[in-house]
């Protein structure tokens, strides 16, 4: 791919945010009027553990260039241990995505607490940049979801 095309490439990123921490951080970033990349679309889930492999893989299969899963810091999960499960599933998913020929950086799991509005902005913006550099996802077998 030449440079020009890369520059024009607008990645499509899905952000699965846990309701209790990261979604609140996104709100704080918003009310602090931070500039955040529109490439990421927020999908609110109650807990990062709700994000299962089906959801992630289907999202990739349908052409997402990147997926961000973000929840409460370890120990802070509103439901006790959900984010530990999310972390385990993430480790597995990383392997699966790689075996599909997707760069593993396209999937990112992170912890952002409710007071970390600026970190939310940083994470989203740098993730967008990273995905933009990687270019469009090599898989897109868009089915009707």
């Amino acid at each position: 791919m030449d440079k020009k095309v890369k520059k024009e490439f607008d990645p499509k990123i899905v952000g699965f945010l846990c309701n209790w921490c990261t979604y609140a951080a996104a709100d704080l970033a918003g009310s602090s009027k931070m500039e955040i990349s529109p490439a990421l679309s927020v999908v609110r889930v109650m807990c990062s553990s709700r994000v299962d492999h089906n959801l992630v893989l289907t999202t990739f299969f349908n052409g997402a260039d990147g997926i961000l899963i973000a929840g409460c810091h370890p120990g802070d999960c509103h439901y006790g241990e959900g984010n530990y499960y999310a972390r385990r599933r993430y480790a597995l998913l990383k392997k699966v995505t790689e075996s599909l020929g997707l760069e593993s950086e396209r999937l990112q799991l992170t912890w952002i607490s409710a007071s970390e509005g600026n970190r939310y902005a940083e994470v989203v913006n740098s993730f967008t940049e990273k995905i933009a550099k990687l270019g469009p996802s090599p898989i897109n077998c868009r089915s009707d979801l």
């Binding site: 918003g30 529109p38 999908v43 807990c47 553990s49 709700r50 999202t59 509103h78």
Partner: protein
């Protein structure tokens, strides 16, 4: 019936209107091909959350007879409840509505108006598609049993029972031993600010026997338990048979034990040495009225050794410093001539009256020695001071403060009740700071020293806290309304692998042997969705957050 979706975008004053081209939204959405099959009403309004806005919305829902509603406005954290309230005033089921956050997620973070508008349209399309996949959910009301079972008749269990018992609430107090009162009733006296002798404990014990609404089961234990908040069924095993009890809540107050000092490498002694545990001294004084050596003499010098077994257990037992000073006072009260030395590793006296007690005893000649390390062999003690200098001494008597450990039945109770035990071996609370009396099972509470090492005062506070939870949540004659956005099992898909059972920290899932499938208890489930990801067969469905619903949002995100 053809779906009729109302879409209302809020100007939020200039907040959204100046950053997102609402008129373009109004033009774009109805013109989209994909909405041919449905009826779409798209309008904008100044401030939907204002009193006028809410009335307007209510009128619009009613007059248009919407089947679904989508709002493009602010964060659900701000106003989801507001608009659910509006829906509830109409025939529209609140779970057929969705708020889309085009303020925090578009207007305020995307400076380019065109881009912000595109993003808002994309989010709204996701929202419209999602509501079409949403289903009505209905709140349920469940009858409850207000009675309470208390396990353990120490001070914590007693206080729980006394705070709760009444005409409309029976308390079943299950005690393992032959009498209630717990460890505290074995002491000689309590701390200075806790009244004379054991009066406070004895009064409470009497109140229990006088209370017609408290039924005490002595020499009894918990045999089995099933059920959930408001509806537990318990079997109590006593000498003369089993009793079935129905209760709405269970309070665990099974207390503590003391570590065996000999299990610590730093301590050794034999039967014949004048070495005692703190509890033995309390009992000796209570029984004989005097603290004496084995040869029947008053000791001339006594060493009080704090923190026995603390390193091994990995926590501070919180109350030892305090009661060791109390024991120093026993000795000084007996005879001012007794030389008392306390070896401690930093005094932990977290209650406001403690320091002055310490000071008073220091003034009466008790020597407090802060040390780094100590080894005790019989009545011989060698230690390392804070400056690293070694020392040793021989005493007539040594009194040890063994670490407080969970009562011996903790593990078996935890297994019966299906509540977790923490790293330290005590019962694990729901949340360290914000929910300390609750456990992971709704309706089961843990109080007193069964929760963590604590004195009588804190044991009582914990007991009252559990009572506070029960008094405000299990009101006789009233019903409880469980969460509706919970997970369900699609039995046809469930293979019975039981993967999901361990995942749920709330113990909401059980396995139905007869059907060979798992069952989610809707009353217990909080709808986190964690189990969902553990099911290899796609047999679980977390209501209002199903995959088809989330896919609708995803699809628009990556369009």
């Amino acid at each position: 019936m053809k779906a009729k979706v109302g879409v209302y975008v809020c100007e939020c004053g200039p907040n959204i209107a100046s950053k997102v081209d609402l008129d373009r939204i109004l033009e774009t959405l109805p013109a989209l091909d994909e909405y041919r099959e449905i009826e779409l009403v798209v309008k904008k309004y100044g401030l939907l959350c204002s009193a006028d806005g809410k009335n307007y919305l209510e009128e619009e829902i009613k007059s248009n007879g919407f089947t679904h509603l989508v709002l493009g406005a602010c964060s659900p954290r701000d106003h989801n409840k507001t608009f659910i309230g509006v829906c509830k005033k109409t025939d529209l089921n609140p779970y057929l509505y969705k708020i889309i956050n085009i303020r925090e997620h578009c207007a305020w973070i995307i400076p380019d108006k065109e881009k912000a508008t595109e993003k808002a349209i994309s989010y709204l399309r996701g929202g419209i598609n999602r509501v079409l996949y949403q289903s009505s959910l209905f709140e349920k009301q469940l009858d409850i049993d207000p009675d309470v079972v208390v396990i353990g008749g120490g001070i914590a269990g007693i206080e729980t029972a006394l705070s709760l018992a009444g005409e409309k609430r029976n308390i079943y107090l299950i005690e393992k031993s032959g009498k209630i009162g717990g460890k505290s009733s074995r002491f000689s006296s309590l701390l200075p600010r806790q009244g004379k002798g054991l009066a406070l404990i004895e009064e409470k014990i009497e109140k229990v026997s006088a209370n017609p609404f408290i039924k005490v089961f002595l020499e009894s234990s918990l045999e089995s338990i099933i059920g959930f908040l408001g509806n537990f069924e318990i079997v109590v095993k006593s000498k003369n048979g089993n009793t079935d009890i129905k209760a709405g809540a269970i309070v665990v107050a099974s207390g503590y034990g003391l570590i065996d000092p000999l299990s610590s490498e730093s301590h050794s002694y034999s039967e014949s040495d004048d070495v005692y545990t703190s509890l033995e001294i309390e009992e000796m004084l209570k029984e004989h009225g005097k603290i004496m050596t084995k040869s029947g003499k008053e000791p001339a010098s006594v060493a009080l050794v704090h923190c026995v077994g603390r390193e091994e257990k990995g926590y501070c037992s919180r109350i030892c410093c305090n009661y060791m000073i109390k024991i120093a006072r026993y000795l000084k009260d007996q005879s001012d001539a007794i030389k008392v030395t306390e070896f401690h590793k930093g005094l932990c006296m977290p209650d406001k009256g403690d320091q002055s007690f310490h000071k008073a005893m220091a003034e009466r000649g008790v020597e407090f020695r802060r040390i780094q390390k100590i080894t005790q062999d019989g009545t011989k003690i060698s230690f390392t001071g804070m400056d690293g200098s070694p020392g040793n001494a021989d005493f007539d008597m040594v009194i040890l403060a063994p670490a407080i450990v969970p009562s011996e039945d903790t593990d078996s109770l935890a297994e019966l009740l299906e509540i977790p035990v923490s790293e330290t071996g005590f019962f694990q609370e729901m949340h360290q700071t914000t929910d300390p009396v609750a456990t992971s099972i709704d309706g089961i509470f843990v109080v007193g020293a069964a929760h963590s090492p604590k004195g009588i005062t804190d044991s009582i506070f914990f007991a009252q806290a559990a009572a506070g939870r029960i008094l405000t949540h299990l009101i006789p004659g009233e019903k409880i309304v469980p969460e509706v956005k919970v997970t369900e099992v699609l039995e046809a898909f469930c293979t019975g692998c039981q993967n999901c059972l361990d995942v749920c920290v709330y113990g909401a899932i059980s396995y139905d042997e007869s059907k060979g499938v798992s069952v989610v208890n809707e009353v217990v489930c909080r709808g986190c969705g964690n189990c969902f990801g553990s099911c290899p067969s796609g047999a679980l469905r977390t209501k209002h957050f199903t995959n088809p619903q989330l896919y609708q949002e995803v699809r628009e995100a990556i369009r």
